[in-house]
Amino acid sequence: MTDSVLYSVLLLVSLGVIAALVLYVVSKKFYVYENPLIAEVDEVLPGANCAGCGSPGCKSFAERLVNTDDISELFCPVGGNDVMKQVAAILGKEVVERDPTVAVLRCQGSCDVRPKTTEYQGPRTCAISAMVYSGETDCQYGCLGDGDCVKVCKFDAMYMDEKTGLPVIITDNCTSCGACVEECPRDIIEMRPRNKRDLKVFVGCLNEDKGGIAKKSCSVACIGCAKCEDVCPKDAIAMLNNLAYIDPVLCTLCRKCVDVCPTHSIIETNFPPKKVKKVVEKKVEVKVAVIKEHIVAESKKSKTDA
């Protein structure tokens, strides 16, 4: 009895020792030197492996940061300036501060305003339906509504609004990694600067058709009337191919253009309602159409009140 216990204990112990020896020898034999800085930098990085920096993952970005002399071109959009400063401290290199950005959806073509004229049958991914044709509506520039951007978002910052058929960006969750921008076959998602209260003014349309055609396919399309260009005090609005574009750097968020746009294709977000001096709480979700309606209703109400 004691013998068998003894033998089995001995056997197991010796097995363990042999295994440990083998492991030790192998780990010594095949040891690969790695710059300890890489691990240190990797520690600081967000670890989301989103590839927003251009490297396939945080580890390889860390390697790039360590091995590149001038890292001013490299930036981690998710970590932002804070992380980059820490990286700079570790590596003793210079980093350039960048303005934080956030993804915005430049299309308001919901089911109500942009009627479907055809029915697509096939795999429901934007990439494939864009390959087959210009989409179920008559607008060949706007959102296809199959949600490739939502599928690719790793930060739960997007979801498909079933009512409008458009994706919605949850600004607070958006890390501006740029995956959705990359994925969208129509390039309707743009990275625009993020300010403190997340105030934005931008053209919510990419339709390059002539006014009448654009308007026919979508009632909130930019018709290229250039009224906004005329009214802009800072020359921040440029017209190209029947389409207005607001330069985020020049724009001072004065919102004059929003009022003159005949099709309401210029979107303003998170501004307090006009003529009411109450500060609206910061909205978590930017639901463009709803907010606009809200604002219009509010302003109408205040007018009638006055």
Binding site: T118, E119, Y120, Q121, Y133, E136
Partner: protein
């Protein structure tokens, strides 16, 4: 126009074959064998089949609806086939609760836990059958005799399967000559008058259904023909060497569910290889394993195990036996 125009990528026409039709063709092909078993075993065969089918459908419904929370696909006929094939592999007197357990294993473990139709690696009915065979060996090898009041065939039906009798006889040192005195004749086996599980009774009925499947192009000849030929050749070699210790190839081909396995179980679309080359390799593997089990193994019958073992090799076969790519090798040269 009332409804919008449909846009889709080409092709814009489609053959009228659907997976549902394929499944129901298999069901139709199984009808003759079922009728024979009804004739031989009477109401018992009906009860076993009905219980297996109903419980398979029910388990599929319950699991998909409440556990997986996906769309329920009991209408596509695959669970129906699993039920029928499971029943066909059971003896007709099996307790009902065992059939239900077998169905649960077949549908729940072998099929749905892999992701449902198309994703299962092993033939669900066979998994259910083998599970029952190893769990309840006694009940699973109690072959009931013929229906008492069916006087015409009462004599022909015995209490054990042909292969079982041979195996037992050889174990006790009998020679084939003495054993075969008790065996049903080849013709009887072909018509379905020997003992066995519900579906493996009649070679003729199984062959009829198999031919129907071949005509309807649900299956191709590659798997069944290769299995049967390889089995016949292998057992034939042993038989020629020593006819006293080994049964004749005809007995092997006609008994022990070889036909059922070759035509209905091994050809299961999901769990068989996709190329003709692969199918032949697969079929040879099944036949070799079956013969080895039958001649040298503990079980008298081995095709279920053989098919399951080869099922596991299907992904490998699919990887290594690919169709020849067009233009990958130029045969003719420019003159």
């Amino acid at each position: 126009m009332s409804q919008p125009i449909i846009i889709s990528a080409s092709p814009h026409v489609h053959s009228d074959r659907t997976s549902k039709k394929l499944m129901y063709d298999v069901v139709i092909a199984l009808i003759p064998a079922f009728l024979v078993s009804l004739y031989v075993f009477g109401i018992g065969a009906f009860i076993v089949t009905a219980v297996a089918v109903i419980s398979c459908l029910l388990f599929e419904y319950l699991i998909q609806k409440f556990l997986m929370k996906t769309t329920v696909t009991i209408g596509d006929g695959s669970a129906l086939i699993t039920g029928i094939l499971l029943a066909f592999n059971l003896p007709s007197g099996l307790p009902i609760w065992m059939i239900i357990v077998g169905s649960l294993v077949a549908i729940g473990v072998a099929k749905l836990s892999f992701g449902g139709i198309g994703f299962n690696i092993f033939n669900p009915a066979l998994v259910g059958r083998v599970f029952l065979l190893v769990s309840f060996p006694v009940q699973m090898t109690m072959w009931p005799t013929a229906v008492e009041n069916n006087a015409t065939i009462a004599d022909a039906v015995t209490g054990a399967t042909t292969l079982g009798m041979i195996k037992e006889g050889l174990m006790f040192g009998d020679t084939m000559t003495t054993i075969s005195a008790n065996l049903p004749s080849n013709l009887e086996m072909f018509l379905g008058l020997s003992g066995g599980s519900i579906g493996e009774m009649s070679g003729l009925a199984l062959l009829l259904g198999g031919i129907y499947l071949l005509i309807r192009k649900v299956i191709t000849w590659h798997i069944p023909v290769t299995i049967l030929v390889t089995m016949a050749v292998m057992t034939g070699i042993f038989w020629v060497i020593n006819p006293e210790s080994y049964a004749s190839p005809l007995i092997h081909v006609l008994s022990g569910g070889a036909l059922l396995g070759a035509f209905y179980m091994a050809t299961d679309l999901v769990t068989s290889p996709m190329t003709k080359k692969g199918m032949i390799i697969f079929a040879i593997g099944i036949a070799v394993i079956t013969v080895v089990i039958r001649l040298f193994g503990a079980y008298p019958e081995g095709i279920s195990f053989a098919i399951l073992i080869m099922n596991a090799f299907v992904p490998l076969i699919n990887t290594y036996f690919k169709p020849r790519r067009f233009g990958s090798k130029i045969k003719s040269k420019i003159v």
